[in-house]
């Protein structure tokens, strides 16, 4: 089998394996999944606020993030999150659940490569860029704000 027929066969195989849903359907799925996760977060925020009415917004936001992250990691551990991600597409990875799922699934995936260079290093394969960029941006914003506030 020469290279060209092999490549054609490979492209055929990829097209057979990729889901056939039209782009309008996947947009709708992303909307539904994103809205569901955000509604869940809002529900937990209302519950927490009914118990602790004095909690400030930043702490409340952190608590919502923690709850959604915990749920996501548990779902990932039980292997249910794959199906949600397949359905929701961007609706599952744009909320904080995508960040948590990428850390948990990489940790589970690279467990067999050892504790230090397996879990420890490869855990951040997807989440690392987000953390690195996020910390860098926050430094830039903070320092720029500090310099402006001097004058």
């Amino acid at each position: 089998m020469d290279k060209q027929t092999r490549n054609e066969k490979y492209i055929e195989y990829v097209e057979a394996k990729t889901p056939k849903a039209g782009w309008f359907t996947s947009l709708f799925h992303a909307f539904v999944m994103g809205a569901t996760i955000c509604c869940l977060g809002q529900m937990f925020s209302d519950i927490i606020r009914s118990f602790y009415p004095m909690m400030d917004l930043l702490t409340l936001g952190s608590w919502i993030n923690i709850i959604i992250i915990t749920l996501t990691i548990l779902l990932t551990a039980f292997g249910c999150f794959d199906r949600l991600a397949k359905y929701g597409g961007a609706g599952t990875f744009i909320p904080i659940s995508g960040f948590a799922n990428s850390i948990a699934s990489c940790a589970i995936e690279f467990k067999k490569e050892g504790l230090v260079f397996g879990i420890g290093a490869k855990m951040f394969y997807v989440a690392g860029p987000v953390l690195v960029n996020g910390v860098a941006y926050s430094l830039v914003v903070g320092i720029v704000y500090f310099i402006i506030s001097l004058f």
């Binding site: 999944m33 955000c38 948990a104 430094l139």
Partner: protein, 124 residues
């Protein structure tokens, strides 16, 4: 009661629309999800740095804080708020302090979970 329902409507609208925009970018340009996460984070940090995203957070609550844009906004806002109190040291530490709880829980719980769960090979 009606007010609470209206709030959830706003959450659905804002949260869903942000995810839909990301999905549109995925479909139309084939940019990988990790890059889109970083792009959205950058958008959030810029909007947060100018203090614009807080209006969206006031409007839509969890619909604005849960998407990764809200994470970028929290980083920028934390840095600004700490710089106001602690000066230069606050500018360095504030961003991570504001988001540290979420990051710590994701890392710690993932580490714990990975001891108990092994990856299975997919058979489809």
């Amino acid at each position: 009661m009606l007010e609470a329902l209206f709030m959830y409507l706003k959450v659905i609208l804002v949260g869903g629309t942000i995810c839909m925009i990301a999905e549109l970018i995925v479909i139309k340009t084939k940019i990988t999800p990790a890059r889109i996460l970083v792009i959205f984070l950058m958008v959030g940090a810029i909007l947060g740095g100018f203090g614009l995203y807080n209006y969206v957070v006031d409007f839509a609550g969890a619909g604005a804080t849960l998407p990764i844009i809200g994470f970028g906004n929290a980083l920028a806002n934390g840095a600004i708020a700490a710089a106001r109190v602690d000066g230069f040291f606050g500018a360095l530490s504030g961003g991570l302090i504001a988001t540290s709880a979420g990051i710590a829980v994701s890392i710690g719980l993932s580490y714990l979970v990975s001891f108990f769960v092994s990856s299975k090979t997919k058979n489809d």
